[in-house]
Symmetry: C2
Subunit: 635 residues, 2 copies
Amino acid sequence: MAKRNLYLDTKPVEEAAELYLNALRPVVTIQYETIPVTESLNRVTRHATYAKYSSPLFNASAMDGIAVISERTVAATEVAPVTLKEKEDYIVVDTGDPIHPPYDAVIMAEDLVETKDGVQITASAAPWQHVRPIGEDIVAGEMILPSRHKIRPIDVGVLLSAGITRIEVVKRPRAAIFPTGTEIIEPEDTPREGSIIESNSRMFENMVIEAGGEARRFPPIIDDYEQIRDNIAKAVSEYDMVIVNAGSSAGTEDYTVHVLRELGEVIVHGVAIKPGKPVILAVVEGKPVIGLPGYPVSAYIGFENFVLPVLAMMGQTALKKNEVVTASVSKRLVSSLRHKEYVRVKVGKVGDKMVAAPLARGAGAAMSLVRADGFCVIEQHSEGVEAGEPVQVELYRDKAEVENTVVIIGSHDLILDVAADMMPNLHPGMFVSSTHVGSMGGLMALKRKEAHLAPIHLLDEETGEYNLSYIRRLFGSGKIALIKGVGRTQGILVKKGNPLGIKGIEDLPGCRYVNRQRGAGTRVLFDYKLKQLGIAPEQINGYEREAATHMAVAAAVGSDGADAGMGILSAAKAMDLDFIPVGPEEYDFAVPLEYLELPHIKAFIEILKMDEFYKRLDELGGYTYERAGERILNI
Amino acid sequence: MAKRNLYLDTKPVEEAAELYLNALRPVVTIQYETIPVTESLNRVTRHATYAKYSSPLFNASAMDGIAVISERTVAATEVAPVTLKEKEDYIVVDTGDPIHPPYDAVIMAEDLVETKDGVQITASAAPWQHVRPIGEDIVAGEMILPSRHKIRPIDVGVLLSAGITRIEVVKRPRAAIFPTGTEIIEPEDTPREGSIIESNSRMFENMVIEAGGEARRFPPIIDDYEQIRDNIAKAVSEYDMVIVNAGSSAGTEDYTVHVLRELGEVIVHGVAIKPGKPVILAVVEGKPVIGLPGYPVSAYIGFENFVLPVLAMMGQTALKKNEVVTASVSKRLVSSLRHKEYVRVKVGKVGDKMVAAPLARGAGAAMSLVRADGFCVIEQHSEGVEAGEPVQVELYRDKAEVENTVVIIGSHDLILDVAADMMPNLHPGMFVSSTHVGSMGGLMALKRKEAHLAPIHLLDEETGEYNLSYIRRLFGSGKIALIKGVGRTQGILVKKGNPLGIKGIEDLPGCRYVNRQRGAGTRVLFDYKLKQLGIAPEQINGYEREAATHMAVAAAVGSDGADAGMGILSAAKAMDLDFIPVGPEEYDFAVPLEYLELPHIKAFIEILKMDEFYKRLDELGGYTYERAGERILNI
């Protein structure tokens, strides 16, 4: 076998980051440039900035009216008005006009009565009334912005008013980004067997921009020691930092760490973090060079923990901190003492508590980052948390958004995505979030007060009735409603053209099957059908192979690893598979009565009654919706 | 007198905004464009986006190791290992490599023992172990982003992995910005008498960019009806919205509202908001045209309340909401029932409560926006709040920053700016905030637990001693420390060259004097000196004219409105004035003992002992600092 480089260190995260920053501080030079103030938004000042001019530049009228000599007005009262003559006793001024001796006060236009001899006033003017003194806002020589200040729109305005037109700021750190790997292709290329579409570098590019840096993304380099070395060496001489993606692990073609040992010093290789362990933190010619793992989630977490602090140091900016909330975790999370673990979670507010529902934990699950509302961080010294225990969640959505989110946990259907898409458009600031744990899992989540709604499709084998008997059994009376959802058709998903000629469940023994997870309504239905037909689970090759959603079943059947799986028509259609109907079923929503009057829950139920919703269901295919949104049970 | 347009409506803020958005909704068209995904950061999606490819694209190894046929491994145990032969029983795979039939599982490299015949395994491999199934992350046809979603770096990555390279997004709304006014000049021009440096348009430009729009700032237009009309009419045909600055009020040359009545429909003129009343909200040819007042604070508040919602509507983005905290207001705020008022405040955490110290309320005080940490909003139906009452503050700094800020209230000195500048550089995340209310005001703030430190310079007329007797009188024993600050020289600031030949306080009667506010240490000193010399306050022309800081006194003396004022040498130096010394004084910091051990308070006191601090004091001029930072009293 080829040489592998199995043994990485696994330094604790904080120790690794500190070690690296300490190695960089003495060698990295902060760079500066002088730019026009008009182009300085979000840039960071080098020095404290002092006003060149005062603002206002002169004593100025604060009102539209007349400038007067205050001592000539002292006698004016309601009963004995004083008449002032233009040019002699007063001049007309608009707001902002200069006030010069002998004038030393302003009377508002509203307080004047015009007469044939001039204007009449009925009260005296105090010296300096309605006059903005020179420098009232800014005095020449005064400090207007401190050093290391990030310039906001109001700062641009004030700098210009104070006569500052150019300003010295920290240069944006420039990062070179190298994707590596023989198997990777560009997004516009047509993927072939074994291809991986390169996308991490584009994520990094945008993360660099968000952190105030400039990014240059280079085309992918193949897994070749010399090519990787030469490209890094050249980039180090031209950029402020270099990011190399993938090849940071211990695989047969992971050259990066060897290249960096040749070119400079590797400070850290391997961090006790999950996902994201194979990180390389190196210094080459006084510049940071960072190797990040290839799995998108590992790459993202590595970037957040190790690249962002370096960019902050070089750009002299503050690291942005996400809001942290305490939430109750909806299922047990086991973690190893060997690493700090970042678990992506969906967060919502149910009743008076925040709940965090863990998403897929795999390092490859980039969609879980898209879907997540935040990270639940399990520290290295912890073995994990039990279901229901409080955890700290770093939010990356606004807390207000999270609080206005309908939390759905239960069976998966594509219509949940449609509702999630429609909600914020119909009700800005309201959202729908769904986690897929199967129908029974959803009802359990309702019982534990971790969700507002549970979508379910559970067949009572005895009555042939859907859903009602299950929630009757699980919830007390006066506790829950069933909101009618949609009718849909379950069936067998097979490859296009049905090459094995499958006609029904009776044909499945002998095929490679992909099943749904325990507790999923589709699995309940499959078990019921097997029993009806007298087929034992052991006769099904792949009965133990579980997929978590209809779409995951469809994907497996679409590949060369499986021949059939049970699921809904819309999933077959989305993946262009053939579909053998098994029977209709009812997909409804269980909702505890206490949530029915919440504005976002009402809004969700209203969506189920909308023509736009039905139009989109028709596009997906295979749905009926006669009574959708109707409340059919209070027990 | 010229015609004025005195009577504006004053619609409540929310009513005005709603009226305007309702007028715009039917006529404004949201525009879209298709752009490369790689350039889509922060853009807003038009439609829901569905995956083109699955990710992974194929069943893939999740580990570095070997791909095996699971049924050939079933017999393997610790005591009876099984040997597998390359090509026949297994192939070597790296993470991400495709797994095809007959292979259906992966064994990690770590679990293999190499032998001369092949590799030995000591445990069976379950079917599909360590295999990432096709579509595990993303399934082709699955919704990856909803409509109206603001694209983040992770979304860019996932879109590309899913084969999406171009995406339809909402076009950035394009705003034309017109500064108007005959008196305004460009920042690079040399100001003359009556000039106002135009800076609002540059602030707007950057606020538009921050809100996700594009801005085109045009050169200033003079106050001329036709020119204003023609420029607006042309811009309306070329841009998505137009912002006209100043000329929105009722002055003699405020043409904007008349122009807009000619060109289109004025929906609102005048809003019950302070500052910011003279706002014009108009629709011309189906496009929003907004006139904003000229005072920078009014302009800013008008933009926030009326332009941002329009940009959000046109760009289909969510309005960013600032965090709101409850704080205790440090002084009485009187407000009128006639308007909603935005009071700029500094916010800090003292003890266990947040305190909000109001800043200058004038509409022209742009620096108060720079210095502020947030707005305290007094609703229209309220007459204001009493000192110590809780108020809601919209923060525009992070709450964490506010909580790590040293809150200084008391006498003004330029050295406070120096410390504020040094603090975040020495201790990232820690800040110094100062509000200037004079020495006595500072001690009162300490008593009310609204500040951590009060800088004071209070002369005891009987003993000639500074500061000690005042804090002894005000605070109980064991409650407070006095931290030595700096020695500085008080004197009379006079114009360059001292044209009136002032030699001392005895020469002030007959001059135009500018005084400091009641409670200021400098005023206490002035009163003491007047008394010593037997001069009555009535003999001082301008005794009642008050300025709030040394710099404000210096600015007044630098203008043609005053001849002399008392202040410190560094202020005279900053404004290039002459200075007649009156005597040295001691500027120290009173600190309640309970705050002395807080990390940010300790950090502040440490700064008082630093060479860099002394170097900067020497640059300011006139300071001594032998015992700075020393604790000289615990009582």
